[in-house]
């Protein structure tokens, strides 16, 4: 055994360094975006200022002027927040029923819900535009984006909540029933406090997915309800003139979400694999 420990000592240091190097490479594009956001537009494209430059905050200070950033950011906050809340309001009772009072069809219903998540959005692009524009008149409204974001995330929300609720012993809920607690009371006073961590991480992850969504938010909005995805997509080809300001607005758009993401990386596995990987 002694030889094994000795030969792995050097090996272990090597693998540690390699892990660090690769992690830094993966993070580099994000670092580069943040780094460039502190350069002026002129400096950002000059190789001689690649690493040596005078940092400036002007890109951040002029974000409103250059891009009308806050209008898009507020739209993102409104739509993502309300879509998440709506998904929880609809999802918690459904997941509660499925976890504690399953019927013969519960499994099929859950599977069917997941299957709606797998429909390609592009297939219904025109009907959605047609319905919302000509028929319902809700095109480019916060209302529409909230509903759509809620619907595309609802299967994942119900699924995640279902797996969290199932971890709670059934007896606790049954005991509540014996004491004559109403269903609403059970959810509010027993279930949610017990599954608080699960509910919170579901909400967090849903918020992130809503924030990053880039198909419907781009195709179903023009100005009123346009989110940050739409803003960035609209500035897709700055031809190098605006690397500084573009980096600043991009950093502002993704920074908070990356930090939120760090807190729920564990839940990501549950949320995206539907419990198939444990």
């Amino acid at each position: 055994m002694a030889t094994i420990t000795q030969s792995t000592k050097f090996g272990s240091a090597f693998w540690t360094v390699l892990a660090w190097v690769i992690a830094l490479i993966f993070f580099f594009p994000i670092f580069w975006m943040i780094f460039t956001s502190f350069k002026t537009d002129a400096d950002a494209v000059k190789p001689e200022f690649l690493f040596k430059f005078t940092p400036t905050l002007e890109n951040y200070l002029n974000m409103t002027e250059n891009y009308d950033y806050w209008r898009f950011a507020i739209n993102s906050v409104i739509t993502s927040t309300f879509a998440t809340l709506l998904a929880l309001v609809v999802g918690i009772p459904a997941a509660y029923a499925m976890a504690f009072d399953p019927s013969r069809h519960t499994k099929d219903i859950l599977m069917w819900m997941l299957s709606t998540k797998m429909l390609p959005a592009a297939a219904v692009l025109y009907p959605m535009t047609f319905l919302t524009k000509n028929f319902l008149g809700v095109f480019d409204t916060h209302f529409l984006i909230i509903i759509v974001l809620c619907l595309i995330n609802l299967p994942i929300v119900i699924w995640m909540l279902f797996t969290y609720f199932k971890e709670i012993p059934k007896e606790i809920i049954e005991a509540g029933k014996m004491d004559g607690v109403t269903t609403w009371g059970e959810i509010k006073d027993i279930l949610i406090p017990l599954a608080w961590g699960g509910v919170a991480s579901t909400a967090l992850l849903t918020f992130i997915f809503c924030w990053n969504e880039a198909y419907w938010t781009v195709r179903l909005t023009t100005t009123e309800a346009a989110t940050l995805s739409k803003l960035i997509e609209g500035n897709r080809a700055p031809e190098g003139l605006f690397f500084g300001r573009l980096s600043a607005v991009s950093t502002a758009a993704v920074g908070p979400i990356i930090v939120l993401g760090w807190f729920c990386q564990k839940q990501l596995v549950r949320g995206l694999t539907f419990g198939a990987v444990k």
């Binding site: 892990a19 992690a23 994000i30 975006m33 499925m98 009907p127 535009t129 990356i258 444990k278």
Partner: protein, 313 residues
């Protein structure tokens, strides 16, 4: 109220919402795929509004399959993009998961750095890569190649080795907006974004591996390679399948990246082609949409079966 009806009532809103969301637009797509429906048809104004009298049978499907010039290209390109991403993310993901799945100094920070790309919104991902990194003139790509050329030019002045380097031509940086290469740009940026996802899944799975089995194998004198081959690989079969299927579903509908890199120029995939049809020929867009649904369903069927097996325990 009976004891049974309450739970059913509680899931009703969710079921109805999802049912409407799934059925209404999809049945419209199905309907449009069987009629002539062309938004800007000046020649036949009756085709500009949907009506049963414009029935075309399988004509739109025929048109999409045999006459639309980009359909097969789009299918092929979709498969090329998705396939490349899958191979890259699974290989990189496995390697990185093994690398990170040990205790070493700063492991927590390494993980945080590694997972970060997954939370970058797709639009920012695409704009960042195509402009600031891959651009052949102003991006890091161009700057790095320029630097390399300068070094080589400097070496040409040296005696002896100079004559060797004098034979080297200037390296030209690759442009990722060109017709042939824009798919590579999409593959690079999506691989960057989704490798962290694969790493997370594989890491979760590695942690549930039976350690006592591994220790027994060590005592039996099995070397690292045979432990990996006979214990770890079979254990990872399932998560690999999951990573492949989930990513297939997401990447078959890639859109923002394609749009931002080249506006689909030379690099269309199926969703992009549907988007193009949707500005005029709705019949064709709908028929192509139905094809996309069929492809997605084939993958989804396998995925759901796996999920279902694991579900109730």
């Amino acid at each position: 109220m009976s004891k049974r009806s309450l739970p059913r009532l509680l899931q009703t809103p969710a079921v109805i919402m999802l049912l409407l969301w799934m059925l209404v637009p999809l049945s419209m797509t199905l309907y449009f795929s069987f009629i002539r429906y062309v938004l800007n048809s000046t020649r036949r104004p009756e085709w500009t509004t949907p009506a049963l009298s414009n029935w075309r049978g399988f004509g739109n499907y025929e048109y999409v399959l045999f006459n639309a010039k980009d359909f097969w290209f789009a299918v092929q390109n979709s498969l090329f993009i998705v396939g490349s991403i899958l191979v890259l993310t699974v290989v990189l993901g496995l390697a990185l998961a093994m690398l990170v799945n040990r205790s070493f100094p700063g492991r927590g920070i390494v993980r945080v750095l590694l997972i970060s790309p997954f939370f970058v919104m797709p639009a920012v991902n695409a704009v960042l890569w195509i402009n600031m990194i891959l651009d052949p003139v102003l991006g890091l790509n161009g700057i790095a190649v320029d630097g390399l050329n300068n070094i080589i030019a400097g070496l040409k002045d040296f005696p002896v080795i100079g004559s060797f380097f004098a034979m080297w031509p200037d390296i030209v940086p690759m442009s990722f907006r060109a017709t042939q290469t824009s798919a590579y740009a999409v593959i690079i940026m999506v691989t960057w974004q989704w490798t962290p996802f694969a790493v997370l899944i594989f890491m979760t799975s590695l942690q549930s591996e039976d350690e006592s089995q591994k220790e027994a194998a060590i005592l039996d004198g099995a070397n690292a390679w045979s432990r990996f081959r006979n214990l770890t690989v079979p254990h990872l079969g399932r998560p690999i399948a999951i990573v492949v299927m989930i990513q297939s579903i997401f990447h078959l509908s890639l859109y923002a990246e394609i749009e931002i890199v080249s506006r689909g120029n030379g690099n269309k995939n199926l969703p992009y082609l549907i988007g193009e049809f949707s500005s005029n020929n709705i019949g064709a867009a709908s028929a192509a949409g139905i094809f996309a649904v069929i492809v997605a369903n084939i993958v989804a069927l396998f995925l759901l079966r796996m999920v279902g097996k694991n579900m109730m325990d």
